[in-house]
């Protein structure tokens, strides 16, 4: 695997392609540091994705898309085939932790980045034998993940449009810190970030220095790309990744603050409660579908995302004072913050 990865780097870099030799060497060195801590998830001979060592006890973090059962096979960087057992998973982040039956004992566990990435920082995205140079754009995007509909903080990265599948690609920094796994890619049509209809994303993209073209093209010097050549992708934000790893390596699901409501934007402002989960904290507090939340602990709530952000930043077990409009009444309701974890359903196990 190491040789194939180096081959990929040769394809990736090279002075003949207009990339400075130092840059190629840096990427090679970065990948060399990371390789012993990375395993490839296999099903038959098919490579489903990468798993990163996150614990000295042989725990690997991977993307849920690569996990097809409670017990799966993986190939270490030295070519050894090992068995991995699913320990814990989380549906909104699409992360899972596996216990390896064996691993390279000298390999260093990859630690998640801790918010030190800046827009424009270079990162590497690894999937099977393909290594892509990518750019970190921002760690403060917010996304709603189907089907759970949970609000989650995301990191956005961009890279040259790949010629192969990148789902679940492992993203690391050049110094071997874990950024996450690619969860989603922005749909390439006129409604997306690469179009004038999303000027904030476009502005962010343009504020980041474009990468040099690394593959093909010839000629000297770095080339610049337009939006049409790039793919925008999302991983979990650094803070979310850290909390996810901390919970999953302990074999626990990720407990998130929750009050048990589904909300959407209300006409005229506020978060309109679309439904209340029976037995939830919101239900016990007396909240009803149709209520409009306009304030939480003195902070104005103007849209549904404001409410979701307010709840997700709470400590489990704390209490919120929610100002709610119900018809022509305005109520102040204390709501306790509960917790919710979502273990991901697995695909049916297939023959190893």
């Amino acid at each position: 695997m190491l040789s194939s990865a180096l081959s990929a780097l040769i394809v990736l870099g090279g002075a003949a392609n207009g990339v400075a030799p130092q840059a190629v060497e840096k990427d090679r060195a970065a990948w060399s540091r990371v390789v012993p801590s990375v395993a490839s998830i296999l099903r038959g001979n098919q490579d489903l994705g990468s798993a990163a060592l996150v614990s000295s006890k042989g725990l690997f973090l991977t993307h849920l898309g690569a996990v097809y059962g409670d017990r799966i096979r993986a190939r270490l960087s030295n070519g050894e085939i090992v068995e991995m057992t699913l320990k814990a998973s989380d549906e909104p982040t699409q992360l899972a932790v596996l216990q390896a039956s064996d691993w390279i004992k000298t390999a260093k566990p990859l630690a998640p980045v801790d918010g030190e990435l800046k827009p424009g920082d270079r990162v590497l995205a690894v999937r099977s034998n393909a290594i892509m140079r990518a750019q970190f754009v921002t760690g403060t995007r917010y996304g709603v993940v189907a089907p759970s509909q949970r609000l989650m903080q995301l990191s956005e990265i961009s890279f040259e449009s790949p010629s192969n599948q990148v789902d679940g690609a492992l993203v690391v920094t050049p110094d071997g810190r874990l950024v996450g796994f690619l969860n989603a890619t922005l749909r390439a049509n006129t409604e997306n970030a690469l179009s004038p209809t999303a000027p904030d994303a476009m502005a962010e993209f343009r504020s980041v220095q474009p990468m040099a073209k690394a593959v093909g093209g010839g000629g000297g010097g770095a080339r610049k790309f337009g939006p049409g050549d790039m793919t925008v992708a999302y991983t979990t934000a650094p803070g979310v990744l850290q909390r996810a790893v901390d919970s999953l390596v302990r074999g626990k699901g990720i407990e998130r603050p929750s009050i048990g409501v589904d909300v959407k934007n209300a006409e005229g402002g506020g978060a309109l409660i679309d439904s209340v989960t029976p037995g939830s904290e919101a239900d016990q507090a007396g909240l009803q579908a149709g209520d409009i939340v306009i304030e939480i602990d003195g902070v104005k709530i103007s849209k549904q995302v404001d409410l979701a952000k307010a709840v997700m930043n709470q400590e489990i077990g704390s209490s919120l004072r929610m100002k709610v409009k119900r018809g022509r009444w305005t109520l102040t309701v204390p709501v306790k913050v509960g917790s919710k974890s979502q273990k991901a359903p697995l695909r049916p196990e297939s023959a190893i």
Partner: protein
């Protein structure tokens, strides 16, 4: 539910719609759970008001007046004891005039004779006494005789107020609606079907931008896969979209 619809609901609950209008609004309530719930709330409010013994003047309603009149009938005019002070200036002038006339020497040769003085009959006060609405000479032929101010009420929250049900006390609200005797408020067409975003729809997401807010987008990560990358497909939408978020 928008304000126009809620206005209609309130007027229906307080009996201020025609039969046709009422039927239309009831049909609307039958189709929409939110509307039906609001109608129940207003009807409960009206019922509560009916049970209140002392209705504040600013919450007077035609409904209540009619009910009271039907139940109690028109009360006899009360006997006024005491001096009607509003007529004090007139009385003063009349007294002064009488004194002046009386002090004049008689030109009719009738010592101390009575002089016929035209006695203007001072009309009794037939107008409504504000604090006694039941004595109002209500002309029941006028459907909207009184200029009414119906206040939308909202419970003003006390700092420690917590409840699991709508609060009972009716207090002054910030919104005032005026129903004039000569007409009615503007006709409203309720917005029956707020647009919703189908999260997994392949169609382009609708974009509505709040004019007073800067544009902010959120990412919707869908379950369907992007054929080019194999990863889940994501779209960016404005935060004002009708996206349901679970919390």
């Amino acid at each position: 539910m928008d304000r126009k619809t809620e206005d209609l609901i309130a007027r229906l609950a307080f009996g201020e719609l025609t039969e046709a209008e009422a039927a239309q609004v009831r049909a609307m309530a039958g189709r929409d759970a939110d509307t039906a719930k609001a109608l129940d709330s207003y009807e409960l409010l009206r019922s509560d008001l009916r049970q209140m013994r002392d209705v504040p003047h600013d919450q007077l309603s035609k409904e209540r007046l009619q009910s009271a009149i039907l139940a109690q009938g028109l009360k006899p005019r009360p006997v006024r004891h005491g001096f009607p002070w509003v007529w004090a200036p007139v009385a003063t002038v009349a007294a002064a005039l009488a004194l002046f006339v009386f002090m004049q020497p008689s030109n009719h040769g009738v010592p101390g004779g009575e002089k016929e003085i035209s006695h203007d009959i001072v009309a009794r006060n037939d107008t409504v006494i504000p604090n006694d609405p039941y004595t109002s000479p209500l002309n029941t032929d006028d459907t909207r005789m009184l200029t009414q101010t119906i206040e939308r009420v909202a419970a003003t929250p006390r700092p420690e107020e917590t409840t699991k049900a709508p609060p009972a006390p009716v207090r002054r609200s910030r919104t005032v609606h005026r129903y004039h005797a000569s007409g009615r408020e503007q006709e409203h067409t309720p917005d029956m079907e707020p647009a919703k975003l189908a999260l997994n729809s392949a169609s382009a997401p609708r974009s509505t931008v709040a004019a007073s807010q800067p544009r902010e987008s959120i990412v919707l990560i869908q379950t369907e896969r992007d054929g080019n990358t194999g990863a889940k497909s994501a779209v960016e939408v404005q935060q004002t979209e009708d996206v349901i978020v679970s919390s």
